[in-house]
Symmetry: C2
Subunit: 387 residues, 2 copies
């Protein structure tokens, strides 16, 4: 199986596996206990927090470990809604992950404003400044890179605008972290991410908080995570997540250069062999691993199934959006028609994806295109005969 | 190190480690993806849900996997508060875990009523019926067994009363599951538990829900867990948790009989060798693994540190309660004085704890008692001399 759905999840990296196993042997005791084994676990946990803070270039006390980005997005927005003035609003982009959009809509009700996205899939910052200046926002949430299109958002500019206007800025960096250098991301007031997008275990993530919500609470209970989140700390998974992330930060520039080249070679095959194919995100900054493609004909699910049979795992969109959640809100926001959305597939490679695998994926698309066309032309013939 | 703090956390069992590793190899793909690897993961996940439902004797669709009992307690009470009439109240016992008490106090404000506990540490059910009949409760929450004292609560009776009066009943069974047969626990409308208390991984647990909160949502986002909890499912940890639990259900009667005998032998050493020691929970049903002991002299932390040096890990109370959270609310509710609480230790063994280890723990207490007394009598002498 050649796997091209890294934006949905990634296999556990061998370093993460090793660290998880060894942490369960050496540091399994409850960090809040009163004996030496607990003190060692507590020290290790705080060392991990420092390591994470150093990666994100932020203060150690701002890092809260949790179960993942969906928890982070929900608990942050929930806390923000409960602790804002009754007329306060939230401003989010209309291409956020459902865990931001739905959480905002449920907790802020009608007091959610949406920042529109351009046809190219990028938040248009000139539109944003008057909104920020005149709105009454207790939080602005714009992701670092979109999960469906891989299109990179101007989070640095937005952060600056928010800073200048003294409005807390939240950045869901789930798709950025582990793919691009996290430099400056820690300057965002709030930042969410999770381990399984970059070779860490599932069920672990982090939320970077800021002094502006100093009393932030996600779960009440024990006083773990400096009182911000009750519940026994998942040290083995935290250690494994950070080990996986450290691994991804090595050689990240070479990986980016190679993967971008190979992805473009794959896209060239597609453009040559599948006439009428459209590449979403051409001409704008995009994650090196992601391609979002509108195929000229046939429903995306048929392509995905055919490619699956040939040994390639690609997706129709985000894993959350696939299945019963209807057409992608991201592509809709970019102005694509329902018909186009139904023909869109997402391809997302990993840092280890080989040039050969990208090339073979191109060849597989070529083959499926021929097969589907042959099948539809023979069906048409059959129809003509039966008429 | 001889470990006697299983109520705080347990080491990962070897079967859980194996299953976690193999699940990360075989079923690491996102269960919501559209290709065969995802379908296999989805099937495996639903198989695990069936297995958990069968252990708890409840319907498969009632099982939600999450990050642990603190999340379960918080999200349930939060949902309940938001979706109840504005005058609805919550009734909880005053010996609940802080994740129940604090969540209730924050979300229900002044509309929290407390069920008192007897001096013996048991919820008195005769007091409960008039409360239930006359109250306006949207939820009643009483744990199955207390984490600090190990004292078993009359959850079966409370469940029956709640059923008769048509009030949803929530049981935090974190300390029961994996130690005693879960039979009938699945009949509670809501049930919380977590893996790391019985040899499963940290960061994984479950919430059993009921039709009375059919639209229960913990995290908004993807439509995972039948729409009840967004976020990529932590399949490897879920599989490992259930494997650990299945292991604990084997021979549970023999384990209970042996451990109870050995714990009592340990308590006999204590009663003989440390004059004035008081055993909390004598004469009432208690978890086979737990002993809560008031020592005649010296602060509990001194005992814990001395025992730690001799290679025994015991606790001053719950891991959440140890440290900065002040004296145990559980012992306070039972009527113990501040002075008594400061002299209380908790000992909690595991299913593999040997008779020898229990015996050695008794001998260690004997030694610490002598050492502490010798030290304090020599200190007294020193004081007398210096005067």
């Amino acid at each position: 199986m050649k796997y091209f759905d890294f934006n949905a999840t990634s296999p556990l990296s061998s370093v993460a596996e090793e660290v998880w196993i060894s942490s369960n042997q050496e540091y399994w005791q409850n960090p809040s206990g009163p004996y030496i084994g607990s003190a060692r676990a507590k020290n290790r946990l705080e060392g991990l927090r420092e390591q994470m803070a150093s990666i994100l270039e932020t203060k150690t006390e701002n890092i809260i470990f949790n179960s993942g980005a969906t928890e982070g997005n929900n608990t942050l927005i929930n806390y923000c809604a409960k602790n804002s003035k009754s007329d306060a609003r939230i401003l989010i982009s209309n291409i956020e992950h459902p865990s931001v959009i739905k959480a905002a809509e449920v907790t802020f009700g009608r007091k959610v404003d949406f920042i529109p996205v351009s046809a190219a899939g990028v938040i248009e910052t000139p539109n944003l400044l008057p909104l920020i200046k005149n709105g009454n926002y207790s939080l602005i949430s714009v992701m670092a890179a979109n999960n469906e299109t891989g299109i990179i958002q101007p989070w640095r500019e937005i952060l600056e605008m928010c800073n200048e206007n003294n409005i807390p800025y939240h950045c869901d960096a789930s798709q950025w972290i582990g793919k691009l250098p996290p430099k400056n991301l820690g300057k965002c007031d709030f930042l969410t991410g999770c381990g399984h997008k970059f070779g860490g275990p599932k069920g672990v993530g982090f939320l970077k908080i800021s002094e502006c919500f100093a009393n932030f609470k996600s779960f009440y209970g024990g006083e773990q995570e400096s009182g911000h989140r009750g519940g026994t700390e998942n040290l083995p998974a935290i250690a494994a997540m950070i080990a996986a992330l450290e691994g991804k930060l090595l050689n990240s520039e070479i990986i980016k250069a190679n993967q971008e080249l190979w992805k473009n070679e794959f896209l060239d095959i597609l453009l040559n062999e599948v006439p009428g194919v459209k590449i979403i995100g051409k001409g704008v900054n995009q994650l090196w691993n992601t391609a979002s493609i509108i195929l000229p004909k046939h429903d995306n699910i048929r392509w995905v199934m055919r490619l699956d049979k040939l040994g390639f795992a690609i997706s129709t969109g985000s894993a959350c959006a696939s299945g019963r959640e209807g057409p992608s809100h991201v592509l809709k926001a970019m102005g694509y028609t329902f018909d186009e959305i139904k023909r869109t597939v997402r391809i997302s490679g990993g840092s280890d994806t080989s040039r050969k695998a990208w090339h073979e994926l191109g060849e597989a698309f070529k083959r499926v295109w021929k097969d589907l066309n042959m099948r539809s032309s023979s069906l048409n013939k059959a129809r003509i005969i039966s008429i």
